[in-house]
Structure formats: structure tokens, C-alpha cells
Symmetry: C2
Subunit: 344 residues, 2 copies
Amino acid sequence: MTAIHPVILCGGSGTRLWPRSRPARPKPFLDLLGGRTLFQRSLDRVGDLARFAPPLIVAGAAHVDAIEEQATMDGGARLLVEPAARNTAPAIALAAHSLAPEDIMLVCPSDHHIANEAAFLVGVERAARLAREDWLVAFGIAPTEPATGYGYIRIGEALDDGHRVARFVEKPDLATAQAFLASGDHVWNGGIFCMRAGAYLEELARHRPAMAASVGEAMADGENAGWQWRPKAAPFAAIAGESIDYAVMENTDRAAVVSANMGWSDIGSWDAVLAARTRDAEGNSTTGRAELVDCRNVLVESDGPRVSAIGLEDVVIVVDGDEVLVTTRAGAQAVGKLPGATGK
Amino acid sequence: MTAIHPVILCGGSGTRLWPRSRPARPKPFLDLLGGRTLFQRSLDRVGDLARFAPPLIVAGAAHVDAIEEQATMDGGARLLVEPAARNTAPAIALAAHSLAPEDIMLVCPSDHHIANEAAFLVGVERAARLAREDWLVAFGIAPTEPATGYGYIRIGEALDDGHRVARFVEKPDLATAQAFLASGDHVWNGGIFCMRAGAYLEELARHRPAMAASVGEAMADGENAGWQWRPKAAPFAAIAGESIDYAVMENTDRAAVVSANMGWSDIGSWDAVLAARTRDAEGNSTTGRAELVDCRNVLVESDGPRVSAIGLEDVVIVVDGDEVLVTTRAGAQAVGKLPGATGK
């Protein structure tokens, strides 16, 4: 069986993880779970050379330094530098262009967490088998709550290794999300995709011909610099940015979904960070100097000052440079709207 | 009527107000309530020259710099430098020695808050009348809760301007405190005293003759330095430290108490700081840069970093140099036991 080509997308500013996430230091490059950043963990997950080819990393120029600090190119990894941020459909097309048409791509965000890697790998094998039959495969996550911040996929008729997609639904309102949860036939769209490189480009050309042409032009006139490939800026910058969901998945009649119970989290808030962390008997987790007295389910992140906490429950404390955040776990969703997080 | 001589005692480390209070910057010299420090407010309260003589300040050598920054000697204030910390009985004796025997002293801690100054001044007038009749007068505070951290005074038979003290009770257990609160005839010992200087020294000589002799010796051999008077160190350092309560008030048969409804607080914790502060409609109070979202009864104190808080209720956040404290108001009593507060 031929190796699968991981495509690691480095997007996601993560304003809800302010003040640790900042414009110059976005979410993928933060050590939020201990030891390895989300980006490094994304590489680690696809690091088994028996299954995977060296990764293709797709990122903006602003993040090249962070990537070169955190990743090694020794194993044959390549870096595709997006001339401008144009969402996932063009980014994935850059990667597809730099592979052979028959190569199987596994597209992975670099700012999510997957707790159960074995289940992930089983899902990848199933998705790859579907991709070899020219299905464009999304990964579905069994929903655990009526989340309104995710896209949903309605599962259609069964295939050998998954299901057809009945339809994609963008972020629903709460009543709709509750109905989806009750229905049992909707899954979250995890943002992970598997497809043949040529199949993706064919579907992109069918549904977004201008985008496909611009990406082709940008790649044809690009230049090589060490492990970096730099597509030409002007044609890429002219693209109207669009997600793979909108541009391709919702339009193709070859969309499939593989559901995997892999402990997925988009680490979308400090509450989710705490949930994904290793915790002590009281449910607390600390990074940096911290003294907790009579605290439960408390997350402390400090880049220097000592944090002393007494009597707190379900609270997150983040100290980062000249910013201190203290929020209830329930309030963590609102962090992205704070003046600090919006650059004020 | 002759002026009353304020004696301002600068003790009290205030470990429960860590990390704002530090060994080099104890509680009296902190701006906790906005605008003026507790020490400055203590001077302000007795600043009316129609009623009060210039103050006598009693403090350790470690605090002379802070006092000289925060007080002015222009009006005739004097500073008595304690050669060693020996509790209140010897400190007050130093002040009594530097006054004429007929002078009326008003002894005030410098780390308490009095919200109702008019009521305080009425109490002072009543206490001064009793002091002129050679009563040693304590100030009683009507208890509002069964506090176990204060001394109590049981009120005895009525005098023209107050009551005899039936007895002093040191910090009681909770059941006893509850009984005191229910009894209606117990008040908190506010640590404020009024007496004739000569009467105090006579009672001290009667009940603690060794202490009285040592203070006399230290004063006789002291030296003058500008507005400072420095008692001789050796005899003072040899004194066994004791509070005025233990050494004199509990032993004299001339103890009286004046009760005043003056909005007294010992500012004994961050919870008490919040209670004494001017607050907004949500009950919040902030010093320094702060952004509060959906917060109630939250105190923020920051010496620099911006503090952003979401969804908190009854929480105190203090940022001071390399220390960050986050505690529930109920937990604020335990701040003094934190490693940071105990110098670890």
C-alpha cells in the first residue's frame, strides 16, 4: 500500500486562547497541553513512516519562523508558503499541485487535539481506502453537546468504509443543533479530509474553475528555497478565499464521511484546554509557578509570575507578559471578544 | 479645652494583604482605599488643629523612610523610633514619656479604616472627658458578626460618657463569639485608646514595673535627630513585648469603654478591602488597568499588567510584581498562610 501524504494546515489565530495566543504567536504554535505544541502534535500523529510520507506543511509567511523552530525538515518535510491567507480550499490546492495525481492526501488542521491516536489511525485507513475509490472524505466526530460553533454533516447511505454525505450544514442555531444531537445521524465536521490529489483538483476545477486556474498559475511560477516552495504571489492573492467545505465538499457528488471516536477537540477555548489536559485529583492543571489552595477544576498558565489561588472552582487563570486573564470556564467562550484579544 | 495628643502606632505587617503588603511595604503604607494610604488617613482623621495637637508617630526604624515619604513634619509632628518591636504597651509608654503627665493621649493604630469620621470624633470627645477623670478608655465597636479574630470587651456599669469595662476577652472560639453577639453587651476591642499620659505610666508602673522602668531608661538616654526621637536601644530591646490590653487594660480597675458606631474596619483581609472601597453598580472595584465582563463583587488591584476578568463573582485579583493572587472573598482569610505571604 502506498504511503499517505499528510498535509498540515497552519491556520487559526485562536483569539479565544488570548492572552497566550497573540497575532505573532497563534494557537498552533503554543504549548497548551504540555511538552509539544499543537502543531508538533499534528506532525507527531502522522510521523509513522510505515504509513505516512513526509508531511507537506502549508502556512503563511508570518509563521515560517515558528515552523522552522518547531519542525525538522530532515525527514523530507516540505513547506508551502501561502502568499496570502485565502482559506482552506486554495491552501489544499497548493498541496495537491505539489503531489502526483494518484497520491492520497490527508489534510489535517494543526490546531486541534486528538486524544485517541489509535482510533484516528483506524479512521485514516478507512478514509484512505475510500479516497482510492475517488471519494472526497471528511472526518466526522460524534457530537457530545449541541454545539453551535461547528459545522455538521448528515450521514447518508452506507459505503464499505464509511458513509455518503447526505448534506453539510454550517454552524446551526441552538434548536437545530439540539435536533441534530437528538437525531443520531449528524456528526461534527472535524476539518480533517482525505482524498486523491488529482480528485481534489478535478472537483475544484469543476466547481471553482477560477480558483483552480489561479492556484495552478501560482504553482507554475513559484520558486524553490531550500525546503520551502513559494508560489507566485499575484495570482494567489487574486483568489477569493473560500473553505474546502463551501468550495468543494458541499458541491461534489463524491463526498463521503468516516466517523471516528478519536477524542477530538478543536481546543477552541481555555475550557477545552483544561478538558484536554492531564489533571490532578482535584481536577486542576498548572503550568508555571502556581500554588492552589482549596481549588477544583482550575487551570493556571503562567509565563513567569507565581499564581496563588484560593477557593476557586471551574476557573481559568492565564498570565502572559503584561496581560492577566481570569475567567470562569463558562465565560471562556467570551475571551475572544475582550479588548485585549481584539487588539485594543 | 486642651488639645488631644494623637499617638499613631505604625505596626501591623498585614500578611493577609499579600502580595500588596510585603515585609518592606507593610499594610499602613499601602494605598488600599484610593488616594491616601491607611497611615495617611490615620493622620488625616486627627488633623483638625482645633481639636488635636500635632501627632506623635511611633514606628520601627524600618518604616522611617515610608513615614517620611507619606507624612509631613511641618506641623510639629514628632516621630518616636522604636529600637525594637515590643508590641503596644512599651510603644505607647514611649509616647506617654514624651508628653506632660496631664496631656490626653489618643492612641490610634495606623492600619484600620474608619468610614464615619464624625462618629469617631464624637467618641473621641467622650473618651477624652473620661480620660481627664483618669479613666483608661478603650473604644468599643458594635459587633456585626461572630468574629473570632478580635478581642471583645464586656460592657459594665454606665458612666457619664461611656461604661466601665466588665472584662476583656481575647479572641474567642466561634461558639463564644456567637454568644457574645447574642448577648448584646459585648463589643469588639477596636485597638483605639484614650488616657492621660501620666495615668497610663502610673498604671504601667503598677502592673508592669520592669517594663515601665526600661521604657523610662530608654527615653532618658535617647537622642534627638530632627523630628525623630531615638530612645536608647539596649533597655528597650530588653523588654518582654506585651500588648496594652494584657499589660495594662486587663489589670487596671480604671478601664472604661466608649462605644462608637463609626464604620470601623481593621482592613484585615482583601474581603474587608473590597467592603471598604467605593464600588460600581455591580459591586466591583478596580485599581490599575482592568476589563470586567459579567463580574459582580470583584476587586482587581494591578500594579501594571492589564487584568481581564469574565463571569466572576465575589473574587479578588491582585497583581503585584512577580506575584498574582486570585481568591474567593471567603478564601481571603487564608492569604496569610500562602507560601508567598510567609516568605517562601
